[in-house]
Symmetry: C2
Subunit: 795 residues, 2 copies
């Protein structure tokens, strides 16, 4: 757990003012830098101590066997695991003849700052060596958003009150030692020494190392070069070995003098390209980095981020913690996706090895909705990645005896890597989530070129999957059996409402897309009859509803299952303390499921149904998944429990800055960080798009005085400024000059000429705020509900 003292609350920075080795692994995740292609955990420059040393390349993975004591047909035999690649972050410092190590000598001050506008991680250390010599170290690290293959570090050492001889070893290190794996099944397996040396050479004031994975046969190159500035004599030498390259800089510094090293890093990998081609690719990137120079890289980084924030920023007045957290989340979302370029966006981005580095439905369901509104090019690239694995998904469907395509529940490269089918293969909804992400991209951007390019095939093949998965009963009602919805505490059921609504949407969307692209559809063998069958199934889909209780059933029969005994089970997450067989058969919910269905298919539920359903499911949801709080925020806001929604929004946003799920050490929770935006924008902004129209219905909780957020819609850039009294829509620019949106259910036409302000009605909830299971109330916002001082209590 990270206490609230760990990082100061500032609008644009995450600042750690003293080094706490107990949360080193967590801070490495928080301070991770990435551009979606290269990921560097926030490890200390000098390499140790570490919580988890980590350097990652998107989709660079190793294959490992998946063992089963009792195997079954269709179980994947091989898994894919993210690999800790050659570490280029290391700069070891010797002060005199003593190594700079924060565990020795005296750390007089230590500060690390993640700057969300500069896109850099800066560290200031003031250290007294065991021999009493003081130095100041300042390093600044960036992973370039503008130059995909490049990272760089500025490393400055300053002598203070005496002359000191300074030695810096700047390294590339392959096959670093890793910590032992935890017993928690959610933590990724750690692979030991996964890389085989291919080539090593010295280049300029640096070196290049090439390695290959043993089983997956991927080749990578890492290269470094250096600029050194120092008054007086300096010697720079480099040697390279198979798993280690080292550039050594040695000089003497008088008090006030500084040694400044710029370390340029270039990374590349390929499954296809030859050794010389890959070697030259890394060398070229390195040359490019030197050509830009340190300041050039800094400037390009800031320009990239200025552009991003201009379209994406969310301003939260009155709640500085959420303000910081939502920007922190957006920053990491951008880092995970900016230059992923047709590679997967993992659940942890490139910030750690959690979940083996796999991508799940999280991407399409939580990350892409945010990117589609804020960085649509990154969203399109992520969707192109999905389309690129369509053939693998078709093979998987065929293996399962199904038509169409079945996308993997968890994967890096595209093959199914889920070893537990009730919460993997049976979670078919991932296919509809992907289809919906394509459709959302089209609806929000107004651009159907991506659909034409690759989305149509995905829509058609996923529709075919659904048709072969479902069946019409003897009364013509269409059912989906053997289905696991988002809630992983209720698995392999009939007619999960979320899945059924998503499948119906997938079927209808595919039919509509085929109508838009008749020739391409025809070429895929789609007939009028097939489209009719899709629409017929979608229209006949069963949505279970409990008439007696007046609530929807998360799945058939759900509301008649045994109630979970929350008083007998007080250890969370429940999955580590109770067997699946008991969880599955009780009314206990891991994460928003029906509630998510109501957010995404808002028009399929009446306001009263929403209010009653939220009330029912709140009492049974334990939020053992990090994907839940943001959705609960969104729907609690809609039904009028605004303060509760604020609590959930806080929980989603602060998940990693406060380590609320106790596993930030393994990497950041991209979906929950995206959820912070969703909670604010879809929750308090009331943004919905499920009817193809940009629809808003804002309402703020007491703890937020002003909320300002930006959206892109059909080429328009829109700013929404919500207060308790009114909302102001500012159409900044866009095609044609006017845009019709829906505000509180009524059409409203906006013009680029002038902002439009509308008064807000207070939101009155139908029901009182619901209770959560005992002990599972949302993490309260500390600033909003401070403990009363003792004297007040006595009054």
């Amino acid at each position: 757990m990270i206490t609230e003292e760990a990082f100061t609350v500032e609008p644009w920075h995450v600042r750690e003012t003293r080094l706490d080795l107990n949360i080193l692994a967590q801070s490495e995740s928080v301070f991770a830098l990435s551009n979606g292609h290269i990921g560097l955990r926030g490890n200390l420059d000098e390499g140790e101590p570490w919580g988890l040393p980590g350097t990652y390349l998107n989709s660079f993975y190793e294959v490992r066997p998946l063992p089963y004591a009792e195997a079954g047909y269709g179980y994947p035999e091989a898994g894919q695991t993210v690999v800790n690649v050659t570490n280029g972050k290391i700069l070891r410092l010797f002060v005199g003849d003593e190594p700079f190590d924060v565990r020795y000598g005296e750390l007089l001050s230590h500060e690390r700052v993640l700057d969300l506008r500069a896109g850099t991680l800066t560290r200031h250390a003031h250290w007294r060596s065991p021999a009493g010599t003081q130095v100041k170290i300042c390093s600044t690290r960036l992973v370039s958003l503008a130059h995909r293959a490049v990272a760089a570090i500025e490393y400055v050492v300053e002598a203070l009150d005496e002359f000191v001889r300074v030695t810096v070893q700047s390294e590339l290190v392959t096959n670093e030692d890793q910590p032992e794996i935890s017993g928690d099944p959610r933590v990724a397996a750690v692979l030991e020494h996964p890389l085989e040396a291919v080539e090593h050479e010295q280049i300029g004031h640096g070196a290049l190392l090439m390695h290959r994975t043993k089983a997956s046969g991927l080749m990578m190159a890492a290269a470094m070069d250096h600029e050194v500035e120092v008054p007086g004599r300096v010697e720079v030498s480099t040697d390279a070995r198979p798993d280690l390259a080292r550039t050594t800089v040695i000089c003497g510094l008088r008090p006030g003098q500084k040694l400044r090293i710029i370390k340029y890093l270039a990374y590349g990998w390929s499954s296809l390209r030859s050794r010389p081609a890959l070697r030259d690719q890394a060398a070229a990137a390195l040359t490019g980095a030197r050509y830009s120079g340190w300041q050039g890289l800094l400037d390009a980084q800031r320009a990239y981020l200025d552009d991003f924030w201009d379209s994406a920023d969310v301003e939260v007045e009155g709640d500085p913690e959420s303000q910081q957290a939502v920007r922190f989340g957006l920053f990491h979302l951008l880092q995970a996706s900016a230059r992923a370029e047709r590679r997967a966006i993992g659940a942890k981005g490139l910030t750690g090895t959690g979940y083996d580095g796999h991508a799940f439905w999280d991407t399409e369901a939580f990350v892409l909705p945010v990117l589609t509104y804020t960085a649509p090019r990154a969203a399109a690239d992520a969707l192109r990645w999905r389309a690129s694995i369509l053939d693998l998904a078709k093979e998987r469907a065929a293996q399962l005896g199904l038509a169409g395509a079945c996308f993997p529940w968890r994967t890096i490269r595209g093959q199914e890597c889920s070893a537990y089918w009730p919460a993997g293969t049976a979670a078919w909804h991932v296919n509809a989530d992907i289809a919906a992400a394509f459709e959302r991209y089209r609806v929000v951007t107004g651009d159907d070129s991506l659909e034409k390019e690759c989305g149509l095939a995905v829509l058609v093949e996923t529709a075919r999957l659904w048709l072969s998965l479902g069946h019409h009963d003897r009364h013509g009602v269409w059912h989906l059996d053997g289905v696991t919805g988002p809630d992983e505490y209720t698995a392999v059921v009939r007619d999960n409402v979320f899945t059924n609504l998503m499948a119906a949407h997938n079927l209808r969307t595919a039919a509509e897309a085929c109508t838009r692209h008749p020739e391409a559809a025809h070429a895929m063998g789609v007939s009028t009859e097939e489209m009719a069958a899709w629409r017929h199934a979608a229209d006949a889909v069963h949505i279970p509803y409990d008439e007696e209780l007046g609530v929807h059933q998360q799945c058939e029969g759900f509301t008649t299952l045994a109630e979970w005994d929350f008083t007998a089970h007080t250890m969370y997450p429940l999955l580590l303390h109770a067997p699946y067989v008991r969880l599955y058969s009780a009314q206990v919910i891991k994460q928003a499921d029906l509630v998510l269905a109501m957010q995404w298919h808002s028009h399929a539920f009446t306001p009263e149904q929403k209010a009653r359903n939220v009330d029912y499911y709140e009492r049974r949801t334990v939020r053992d998944s990090s994907l839940s709080a943001c959705t609960q925020a969104g729907m609690c806001a809609e039904v009028g429990h605004l303060d509760l929604a604020h609590d959930y929004a806080y929980e989603a946003a602060l998940i990693d800055l406060r380590d609320l799920h106790h596993n930030t050490r393994d990497g950041l929770h991209m979906a929950s960080l995206a959820g912070a935006w969703i909670a604010l924008v879809a929750g308090f902004g009331g943004v919905r798009d499920d009817e193809g129209v940009l629809s808003l219905n804002p309402a703020l909780p007491d703890g937020i005085s002003d909320l300002r957020f930006r959206l892109r819609w059909h080429g328009f850039r829109l700013t929404v400024h919500v207060t308790h009294a009114d909302v102001t829509y500012t159409l900044r620019d866009g095609p044609g000059g006017s845009l019709t949106i829906r505000h509180a259910g009524e059409d409203l036409t906006l013009s680029t000429d002038a902002p439009c302000t509308v008064a807000l009605q207070p939101r009155v909830p139908l029901l009182p705020p619901p209770q959560q299971p005992p002990g599972r109330e949302p993490t309260r916002r500390r600033l909003v509900r401070p403990r009363l001082p003792v004297s007040s209590q006595l009054d």
Copy 2:
């Protein structure tokens, strides 16, 4: 597959007239000898070739880790695997200087005979060595039913047309090489070299080897001694090493002269006893064997079997294959159980390593019903084993967050070893099956001393399990969710009819037993309120029924699931060709489930319901489990499909003699072999006991002219002789001299004074014979439906 030529059809023998190395592994299972404590596969005396070398001691196992790619709470971490112990069967023969090996030289004749009355395996071989020397070898092997720790072999070599120097090496061999494991998940893991040497010593004309398992820490001793008879000079020498003891006999034989060796074997193991104690135990058993002598062992064996057959024999006129097969099955059932003495009866007995040597519900559900009527002492011992692991079952229930006791789905020692919970932990019915076996023992024997001794505690703790598993819905109906019934193609469901009826029976039986033993119940904390809660749940249990179709639902909603596409899936067993998630959500049934419920709870269904249910479920049952055919036989007979029932009875009976499931190599199918008896006695005899009364209602298929079977009931011995015209009940002896049974629904009082003959009415089925899924018709009885010769077809 074993063709019908492999074994001749004889009433009391299983004879193989030529050695077919292609079915060597299968014949090793068929010719396995055991007494329930020691098991010897039918390996050739000379040790090789083999299909699977096998020597087993009941409950002597090794622990192995159970791996999971994604583990979950409550998954067992360690499995138990039967160990191939020290092999005492080996007698290697050298003819001149050439080893006797059936793969070399010329095998002029070779015959093996399993004698079901003598309890021996005899082998005759006539061999010409590569050098042209002819010998005859005759060996007879037995595992003593009368002396639990003893096996013996008579080995005779005869010189034929020339003088020959003969050398025999009689051995004890530990840690034999094993074949590689198959990819089929049903085949047991084979452990390599599982035994560590503890002690070896020479004793008499033999030796003793002691070993210990590495992980489970069990110690075993194997000892051998020899008697040698030969005209002329003979030298006998023995040496012993840690993993090998060898007694060498060398002599010369003139034509017509014979060397005769009697090899006595003794085995023992313990988890507790000291090395000297165990050593002396084996030595004492060996001394006892020599004291009995070979003829004494043969005589005792036959006497034991005479007694068994007198109570157990079934005579089938008109169907010699089934006649042979049912006796073969009863013989192996006796072998698996006779001297198991409070150890588990594994699904394969001690005939192979299939299913890791584990015991399942098969024991209580199929094996014990037969033993209870034919060898009740063995049944009582098996039940005492279950009672002995009650504490482990209570620990397991507590681990799962449940009350009472949860018995393992598969185990050797008592700990849960099932690594796939949907077909393991969720198959809660095993607990009710065990309870029912206790109750059946009480009902059939009329003896409640076993209940008092240990059954009551089992009944109470299993009832407590059920009450904590189930729940009353808001209308008071009692449901069981998260349940897998016998059918493993439909898992983790609501209200499986079989499970619900069994649970209700368990609850009621426990309440009644507590009423019979009030003080013992009170000591277990059973209150009047608890008993009332049991009865209340049992009375409120939900039995799903499809009103529209007029059939019961195997589980809630079953009849509304998608129909399985049998034309698209033609490879069996389906579990090797389709994923569970698809099987579970379709109307495809692995094995009798609702149909078994109707057999065991006959009174809970009307005749019309039975007919309609059989008709419905026959069409959807693929019999991928060997536990199915016998039950289908029983219920098809009851509803009047007598020829179809005969086909199923044949399939159950011939499973191993014809290798119908292609895995007889891994051991025999004890439950199916028991099922042969069940199919004849419960099927054509119509025996039921679910209302506490011995009830019969016989009817024969066309292919059987006479059926005669014997039962024990309340101390009576009853013979039932069924023809197409009538049935004759002969009460041979018993307490009081008269017994009231129920014949065709009417009470009938029998007397030991005279047989009672009753005319039979022809059984008229309500519906025409049902179809099975395409290609899944029962294996037809070849003798009944011979192919017409070509000439006839031309007529």
